[in-house]
């Protein structure tokens, strides 16, 4: 749009074939006082259109409609086609006043009769144009802000005109000629409503046309537009033009879509919520509610619509008393309330509600949460916890009581034993023996109860070490040999050749398991044989499964009792037997739990009066070090040295001496009973290494070591001690010892420490 101010030159196009008239216009305007003017002249329509194709920024166009190449109204319309936004003032003759008025009706700004040309008229026309341009400029600005453009379709000329914003909305540039603009070409082809004939038909019918259209082109992408228009008629009521507006509502549409999606999400939440959501009137009539309300109350949607919320409250609860306290906007949160269902059941619920009083809505919006199942689960959990706690307390009580009972029982046993050593007559001996026997039984029961209690309490830990499985089985076998002789039962132990020399695990628990199973086997077998078969299965990662079968030819177990025998305090009813079998019924339960504690399994098969077979399998690890045999051959070097052992405990003396002499037959082992003897023997025999017990009579190991080290600091002296803290705290180093070995003696450690220090010193 051309824009002019008084400080600028006004661009003026004069389309006039009469040069005198053109000069006259230039003269009058230049002297009209409207400011400086910049004139462009065209003598023909062709010249004019060429000029307008280059620029349309003219403040005013003076048009003589009778040109050499065009006459009459067509001249005006042609110019307007090229410069639709221009202010065209038509120059006519005296006789053409009516025609002048017609030109205004066809889009001219004004007309001037040539005979009346003067500075005042021309200046007024120019100023009017400038002002019009300003107004149009503001209108364009407003349209741009509102994203709203106007357009017009002339039914007579079948031409469109449109504001800049309308062009922008359609993706056209400001300089694009309006004649290139065809609404249909820019609109989704599927949308036939935009055909101008359809619009005209609609306008003929209703007088208005409004349509939302979606356009999608490369320039502007996908956009939504709202178009509305109205028809304009001439005096003969013939539709001459259509004027309309076009508004870009893409953002509005996008917000609308977002709102719809949000609404959909909210509806989904509303629909699928497990909590009951509702709105109601102030007096409790349901307005909106979701399926959860139906599910909680048991009423159908139709039934709820007719129902007042008050009827869901128990009879002794007054809804109004609860809700009347609420003021506008205030809420009730997680209020525990019972809900009476259609069937009359009570559901435990939490009510959260807000009172709303606005012009649009007065009532409550709320949430009903059904916590019946949760409450029930919590109650059950609490009951379970109480029961578990009670069971734990019972176990602890049992453990505590049995532990405390064991001490006096041991005293009874010990005293009975001592009493039997004294001079007693036969009757007294019999009485005391009975006391002792009963005490032994009682102590055994107490031990069993303590054991099972500890197992159930999880307070039993495994003490793993390297052990010889063959030794364990043979030792246990030996323990039962006398029993077998006593009962005249054949007792066999078969150990498979594949059995490793040593395994890593809890040998004590393995012994206990064997004792329990064999104890049972001997208890219930009066004739025949008891056989123990042991073999191993190699597993992955240094694991070896020890498989042991204990078979007997005893009473056997009825099939229906097999599952129960591993339960605590369970014994098979032996009332059909002539014998009375003592016991707590804990042995097999302990055995099973001990096996399971070691990740093992136990199974039983049995036939009444034929016998039973208990099979257990426990995974053990292979020792991390190689077997003892291998150590003897490959790893422990042969030494030929003198070793002095200072130890007051005879058993330790014998054991240490024996295993050292067995390991190194060429070495000499000297034994000192105390620290003083150690000093004397060291002085006399010059040993290569000393094993020094710390706590000894006459002189302790610490003092003896200090004295020896003063004279012979290079001599390796190894502390032997049962004080674990000495090793942990490295205290032994303060006394001059070179190393420490904990008692009871572990041969491998003993060999290892001796070879280490003897090798170093040599």
């Amino acid at each position: 749009m051309p824009y002019s101010t008084s400080s600028q030159k006004h661009k003026i196009l004069v389309i006039e074939d009469n040069k005198a008239d053109a000069v006259l216009i230039e003269y009058h305007l230049s002297n009209s006082g409207v400011g400086q003017c910049d004139f462009t002249f065209a003598e023909t329509l062709e010249q004019a259109t060429d000029i307008l194709l280059i620029s349309q920024e003219y403040a005013i166009i003076f048009l003589d409609i009778n040109l050499p190449d065009s006459n009459g109204m067509e001249t005006l319309l042609s110019v307007l086609r090229f410069a639709p936004d221009s202010n065209v003032v038509v120059l006519t003759g005296h006789a053409d006043r009516d025609f002048g008025l017609a030109t205004v009706a066809n889009g001219a700004q004004d007309y001037i009769v040539k005979e009346d040309l003067d500075g005042v008229r021309l200046g007024r026309a120019l100023l009017f144009s400038i002002e019009r341009n300003r107004i149009l400029s503001r209108l364009e600005e407003s349209q741009r802000i509102a994203q709203l453009g106007h357009w017009e379709f002339n039914l007579k000329t079948h031409t469109y005109t449109a504001s800049k914003e309308a062009k922008r909305i359609f993706g056209l540039s400001e300089s694009d000629n309006i004649f290139k603009f065809r609404i249909r070409k820019h609109i989704n082809d599927k949308d036939s409503h935009l055909d101008i004939n359809v619009i005209i038909n609609q306008l003929n019918k209703t007088g208005r046309y409004t349509q939302t259209i979606e356009i999608n082109n490369d320039t502007i992408g996908k956009r939504y537009l709202e178009m509305s228009c109205r028809p304009f008629f001439d005096e003969e009521n013939t539709m001459v033009s259509i004027r309309g507006i076009i508004q870009d509502i893409t953002r509005l549409k996008s917000l609308e879509k977002e709102n719809q999606e949000r609404q959909k999400r909210i509806e989904n939440i509303f629909k699928h919520s497990t909590d009951g959501l509702y709105t109601s009137t102030l007096d409790g009539q349901f307005l909106e509610f979701n399926n959860a309300i139906c599910r909680i109350t048991g009423y159908s949607t139709e039934e709820l619509k007719q129902l007042n919320i008050k009827s869901l409250y128990p009879k002794n609860v007054n809804r109004n008393e609860i809700l009347n306290k609420l003021t506008d906007g205030s809420s009730l949160s997680d209020f525990p309330i019972d809900c009476v269902t259609k069937s009359g059941d009570i559901r435990n619920c939490l009510l959260s509600t807000t009172k709303i009083i606005t012009k649009e809505f007065s009532g409550f919006q709320g949430v009903i949460r059904d916590i019946t199942d949760k409450k029930k689960a919590e109650e059950e959990k609490q009951k379970r916890e109480v029961a578990e706690k009670a069971a734990q307390m019972k176990e602890r009580f049992l453990a505590s009581v049995t532990h405390e009972m064991r001490t006096p029982m041991n005293a009874v046993l010990g005293m009975s034993h001592l009493l039997l050593q004294t001079s007693l007559n036969n009757e007294q001996t019999e009485f005391v023996s009975s006391i002792k026997h009963a005490s032994e039984n009682l102590l055994s029961i107490i031990n069993d109860i303590l054991e099972i209690s500890q197992l159930q309490h999880g307070s039993i830990s495994l003490h793993k070490s390297d052990f010889s499985p063959a030794l364990i089985f043979n030792t246990v076998k030996k323990a039962f040999d006398f029993k077998a002789q006593e009962k005249n039962i054949e007792f066999k132990l078969n150990i498979d050749d594949s059995m490793p020399d040593s395994l890593f695990g809890d040998k004590g628990r393995l012994t206990q398991i064997l004792n329990n199973l064999l104890g049972n086997a001997f208890k219930f077998t009066e004739k025949g044989a008891i056989t123990v078969n042991v073999q191993t299965k190699r597993g992955e990662n240094s694991k070896v499964a020890l498989l042991c079968k204990v078979q007997d030819t005893g009473l056997g177990i009825p099939e229906d009792k097999l599952n129960a025998i591993f339960e605590t305090f369970t014994q098979v009813d032996r009332s059909d037997s002539n014998k009375i079998y003592e016991g707590t019924g804990l042995g097999l339960a302990i055995t099973k739990q001990l096996i399971e504690k070691q990740n093992g399994t136990i199974q039983v098969s049995s036939k009444v009066n034929i016998g039973s077979e208990f099979t257990f399998e426990i995974p053990f690890e292979l020792p991390k070090t190689t077997s003892k045999k291998a150590i003897k051959v490959h790893e422990i070097p042969e030494i030929n040295n003198t070793i002095l052992l200072a130890e007051d405990n005879k058993m330790n003396q014998i054991v240490a001496k024996k295993i050292l002499e067995n390991q190194w037959p060429k070495s000499k082992v000297l034994v000192a009973q105390n620290g003083q003897e150690a000093i004397d023997l060291e002085h006399k025999h010059k040993p290569d290494l000393i094993l020094m017990d710390i706590q000894m009579p006459v002189m302790d190991g610490n003092e003896a070591t200090s004295i020896i080290k003063k004279n012979n600091p290079e001599l390796p002296i190894i502390a032997l001690t049962a004080h674990a803290y000495m090793a942990e705290s490295n205290q032994y180093l303060n006394y001059g010892y070179d190393d420490i070995l904990l008692k009871p003696i572990n041969p491998e450690n003993l060999f290892s420490i001796i070879t280490k220090h003897i090798t170093q010193s040599s």
């Binding site: 030792t475 004590g508 014998i654």
Partner: protein, 123 residues
């Protein structure tokens, strides 16, 4: 002979390496020396000679593994610890009695084991 309820000779047998004579020697030592030491321990505690008792308890600490009764080992270990600072006399006396009683339960089984080794040798 009954099943051993109180003793577990695994360690003793492991140390003797299956040598029957050495096994017997060790069993005999348990019967002779350890038995008198356990009795002495109780007497020392009764007389309030706690320092001597502590030394003896410590000595027995390396003897009891040969018997293989874990309760005996544990009670004696606790006793030795308490004797270092003999303030809880009732507990010391209880533990002393416990050690004594358990030992007395173990002793017949040790004797039986020794007997069986002797019989084995005779047979």
């Amino acid at each position: 002979m009954t099943t051993n309820k109180y003793i577990d000779l695994s360690y003793l047998l492991e140390m003797s390496g299956g040598d029957s004579d050495m096994t017997k020697t060790l069993l005999q030592l348990l019967i002779d020396e350890a038995a008198s030491e356990v009795n002495l321990l109780q007497k020392q505690i009764e007389k309030g000679e706690y320092h001597q008792a502590q030394r003896l308890s410590h000595k027995l600490k390396t003897t009891f593994p040969f018997v293989g009764n874990q309760q005996l080992i544990n009670d004696n270990t606790s006793l030795e610890l308490l004797l270092k600072d003999p303030s809880d006399i009732p507990r010391i006396q209880t533990l002393s009695q416990a050690v004594h009683s358990i030992w007395n339960s173990c002793l017949p089984e040790i004797q039986n084991e020794l007997k069986s080794y002797t019989l084995d040798k005779l047979s």
